[in-house]
Symmetry: C2
């Protein structure tokens, strides 16, 4: 008898994260520089405890926090979220950051999923950074989408290449299948790079130029998951501030900057997309857990959230510095890397002859020496226009313990030197 599984099931392989986690469990002495976990030591346990106690002790808030809410989320949290992002952008534009466009989701991951469902049919094309967030690639694969990779420079997407890819799709008549450009715009997963506001603006202009030939809007899906994890300096404005009303799908999260285990994410969306996603979310779960939304609303309104941010930033900055020092000391000079200014990741580029994939000698040797990284090839979409680069690695300092950062890098450096 055959299996009854759907095409979507058959297109959805075991995600890389699962076998990476399994490797971690199978090697008890392993130092994982692969996991995208947040820093456990700085999780706001006391804050969350106090906030939840407050919410549940309140005669006005306690019961509603344990009741169903509405599909698009708690109104107060939506208001605070819209206002929070508007302030980050230093904008006075009320329309682009309207509460009526703001939705609360189960992590920003859920919003990436539902955005795909809302916009993309099998065979549709999405443009992604080369490299990009690998779980997003998993979503595109399961939905039978085609991806085109756009080169990534130090300050974000390569505009000339974006233009070239769009022009080629126009020439081949496939522009009508292009739905969106996906950018992980702040301290990108996996490279740590940030797309400048100027580039976002220019990308939006480019997309608009091709819309006529596409016959429909081409959206910029801005994934700002790491936005608030910057170590210092000014915030880059989001694409919402670029004045392309109705073309920006902005996704953010409270998981990374505050309570990871609460998994509260959000989106600020063009009205048509908001409406579609609200309808879709009605089928997924008719609303994210209200208790978690009340936790976040209260953490924002009492200032607990804002008080926690500088602590977190300092902590990640220190961990990144620790990793920088270790890499300087232990990595061969031919490995290229840059010190990130936020987020959780370093991106290391090896000489092209040194393969880094899961089946490579490098990966297997590193595993035997009890250190794990994310092979760079996992972060590249399938794109017939180029071969997947296979000589890079994502190294995370986010979840690793302080003492494990230099130890893990030392092990990895030893393996790299032996390969060079």
């Amino acid at each position: 008898m055959k299996s009854a599984l759907s095409q979507l099931s058959r297109r959805t392989p075991e995600p890389a994260i699962s076998w990476l986690m399994k490797l971690t469990l199978d090697h008890p002495k392993l130092i994982s520089l692969a996991a995208g976990f947040t820093d456990s030591a700085s999780l706001p346990v006391d804050d969350v405890r106090a906030v939840l106690d407050d919410v549940l002790a309140s005669p006005r808030r306690g019961r509603p926090a344990l009741q169903y809410g509405s599909t698009v989320g708690d109104t107060t949290l939506r208001e605070m979220t819209a206002e929070h992002v508007r302030k980050c952008d230093g904008s006075k534009d009320a329309t682009s950051y309207a509460v009526a466009r703001t939705i609360i989701t189960s992590g920003s991951q859920q919003l990436l999923y539902m955005t795909t469902e809302a916009l993309c049919d099998p065979g549709d094309i999405v443009l992604v950074e080369d490299p990009t967030y690998f779980v997003y690639l998993g979503i595109t694969q399961s939905h039978a989408l085609r991806c085109r990779g756009v080169k990534l420079d130090a300050d974000g997407i390569n505009l000339a290449h974006l233009d070239q890819v769009l022009a080629e799709l126009k020439r081949t008549g496939e522009l009508r299948r292009v739905k969106l450009l996906y950018l992980v715009s702040y301290f990108q997963n996996p490279t740590g790079r940030t797309t400048s506001f100027t580039k976002k603006q220019a990308a939006l202009e480019l997309l608009r130029r091709y819309e006529r030939a596409a016959g429909h809007p081409i959206y910029l899906l801005e994934d700002a998951a790491y936005r608030e994890l910057r170590f210092s300096g000014d915030d880059e404005r989001s694409a919402l501030a670029a004045g392309f009303d109705g073309r920006v799908i902005y996704t953010g999260t409270y998981s990374k900057p505050f309570a990871t285990g609460a998994r509260v994410g959000f989106g600020i969306l063009p009205l048509e997309i908001f409406s579609a996603i609200a309808r879709i979310k009605g089928n997924h779960d008719f609303g994210t857990a209200n208790l978690l939304q009340q936790l976040l609303a209260h953490a924002l309104s009492t200032g607990a959230y804002d008080r926690h941010l500088p602590i977190l930033r300092q902590r990640y900055a220190a961990k990144a510095l620790r990793m920088t020092a270790a890499i300087r000391k232990h990595f061969p000079a031919e490995v290229k890397w840059a010190q990130p200014r936020g987020g959780l990741y370093f991106w290391a580029q090896l000489p092209a002859r040194v393969k880094s994939g899961a089946k490579s000698k490098l990966f297997q040797t590193a595993l035997r020496r009890d250190v794990l990284y994310v092979p760079g090839e996992l972060c590249y979409c399938g794109d017939a226009a180029r071969r997947k680069p296979n000589h890079e690695m994502r190294i995370s300092f986010g979840g690793a313990k302080d003492r494990d950062i230099p130890r893990g890098i030392e092990r990895l450096g030893a393996v790299l030197r032996a390969m060079s």
Copy 2:
């Protein structure tokens, strides 16, 4: 310029629940007997507060509760969940209730969604009760599935009709598109009826008989959302206990019997389905909020959950009794209804000439008199083999305040008497 929305978006209309909620907001004096909310007065606010305080105060549990977890859920909660369901079934069969088959989800709604994704392609057929849970019908519509309604008797699905529907699908060569039979088996939404264990067993036998012609397994998707909300008496065994290993997809939830606003649901699945859904969930959200899972695990292990259940049951039993008395007093004799033995709903059948749909005189008059019910027609799938019945209503005592139950029923009774 055209819209860029996907086919799925276009197939996903505003859910009924949204306009019912909007009506509630637009009519401030309205008594809603439509909402499927749980009873706010008995929500375990103090229990949840104490449990969360315990979890977050613990050096061992606090930080992990605020970190990411694994996609399929916390191992301890999965163990306790599998054990909980096994005990409810009074079974000694370890295989059917294995931890390795148990997944934690964001409400059982998410599991209904992912099960559909895992098994069904557009055009596939699912068998549902006539009537059934309307949000499930929303999922089937958005995924372009075809539904066939199976008659529902007082003790559950009509087996002769199930056989007839399957035979007809075999005759027309469409059996290979049939993926599952969906049963809301305990105190059903919307009718309040329970499917006997004997009938579940017989349904599984019937499905198996047609598998050969289908060429693949036909699953029984058992939605046990209301299972623990029984007022008294013995528990009916679930389909897991029927000995059809690998054919039962069991979904349950902790939202209704405990902390609604935490939205923790679960499933016990055949291994192949478990694996597919785990992969799909990796793309949806890579795991339900860990903080909520720790809340439930601790509530189960400390006994807070078990201590709350009898309180809840007594409370719902009293509300149902209150509604029974009011219906007896105010409804015309020609309205048929039965006293539920659990759950949140009454189902009232009017004479066939009295239409109850959203556009009916009855519904509109009731709305003017400030009382809301769920029109029965919303709970029927589109099925060419019959017209949608349009003379029934779902009346909920779950979320209504004590004093509003007799007042709401009195208003509804007055409208019904005026129509009769």
